[in-house]
Symmetry: C2
Subunit: 221 residues, 2 copies
DNA sequence: CATGGGTATTTGTGATCACAAATGAAGCGA
DNA sequence: TCGCTTCATTTGTGATCACAAATACCCATG
């Protein structure tokens, strides 16, 4: 299918990972960064054509994303990005608050100066994305800000769960920030950096909770 | 492979779900209930033989379980139940505490008498499992106790994450309770029921946190 | 112009196959 | 006896195919 070589089991040169993993990562970042709108349908053959693989790896990648809640599968097997109900959005926001407050709290004692400066650099990039009205770049750099901080918590399982929540919210965040068109850079990110610099744990917890909850509150349609 | 019918795409009679889902659910409950020890290896052909399907659905089920952390995949693609490090166990215990305290707190205002009685009945079943020294039955009914309570929280995404954590801890819990051989029924379950009955939210949160943390603390090998 | 039925196409599912890499065992030599 | 090499077997990977069901399309009829 991919070109004209009917050879099964492509030799997989040196360190390149498996085909289904390539497809999985590609789709995952696209969904998490909000490059796909809610209720966007996908087909296995279409995915295979795009990533130049057959249906088998495409199916595995899709299956995995469905298991993580990044895609929704209808009873007939068709897959699409989810359209979240309001209750679901509120629940996921509560999960973000729960997990990210804990992660930031664990990262606080390990946060040294280099990290804080990196966070401020990312904040600058976020401001650029806002200026260019680039929703995808905004979402991507915003998540990068949070992930950079949480990586210091040294809690991989907790961070993985957090990213799963981000993944589920990806298309919804696109819809949100696409219609929001904000012009100022996020105020709570400044508060997070300030609390980190001051070693103020209650302030950090409050700032993170506010930042996470603020955006999603605007979805009470 | 399954018998002698070479027909592809088995017609899938009425309401029976797909083959890969049957395999997934079968393996998932086995892992979550602690029927498999840590580092237990599995092969795709073996799974297919056991569930009477071909390798394709077996691969999808395994892929999904790997994504959820229920199985570990080596660089060569071999899969086995995970052997968790102490840090990982502590982190998962912290996650359980975080999520389950929140879930119980949300379930509290909706907990009426019938629920409390059901929880007490389950506690009786747990006592039986302990008396029979049946580790698998103990784990299964213990999880049933928690799930019955958390279902009242009306928070499906949170409960799903919680079950994912249980899944990752499945083989480890088997190893724990297999060597523990406890004789008394869990004291904290009584405290949970009492706090529910009294409508005591701080007490409930403390009891749940203690119950979740107590068992896993014994793994500081 | 709307609507219904019937056909054609698309799409997911699962079995099978060929291949490569990894694993395990046997054999040989020091 | 131990270590290394070599070969056979096991195992995962991905492509392809046949089939069924769902969807889309089209034309005829009111």
């Amino acid at each position: 299918m991919q070109s004209q070589t009917p050879s099964p089991a492509t030799p997989r040169s040196e360190n390149t990972s498996s085909a289904h993993d390539k497809v999985y990562r590609g789709l995952r970042t696209r969904i998490m960064h909000g490059e796909l709108p809610p209720a966007h349908a996908l087909t296995l053959r279409g995915i295979g054509r795009e990533f130049e693989v057959s249906m088998t790896p495409a199916r595995e990648a899709v299956q995995r994303l469905v298991a993580e809640g990044a895609l929704f599968m209808s009873s007939s097997g068709r897959v699409a990005t989810p359209e979240l109900s309001n209750e679901r959005i509120e629940e996921l926001a509560a999960l973000r608050a729960l997990l990210e407050v804990e992660l930031s709290s664990r990262a606080l004692p390990r946060a040294h100066m280099a990290l804080i400066e990196r966070l401020q650099t990312i904040n600058g990039t976020i401001a650029e994305a806002i200026a260019h009205k680039d929703a995808v770049a905004y979402i991507r750099t915003n998540l990068e800000f949070h992930r950079t901080l949480y990586l210091r918590a040294q809690a991989p399982a907790m961070l993985a769960m957090c990213e799963t929540v981000w993944l589920q919210l990806g298309p919804t965040m696109r819809a949100l920030y696409g219609r929001l068109q904000r012009t100022e850079l996020p105020q709570f990110h400044r508060a997070i950096v300030a609390a980190l610099r001051a070693g103020d744990e209650p302030g950090l917890r409050l700032a993170v909770r506010s930042d996470v909850t603020a955006g999603l509150k605007l979805l009470a349609s």
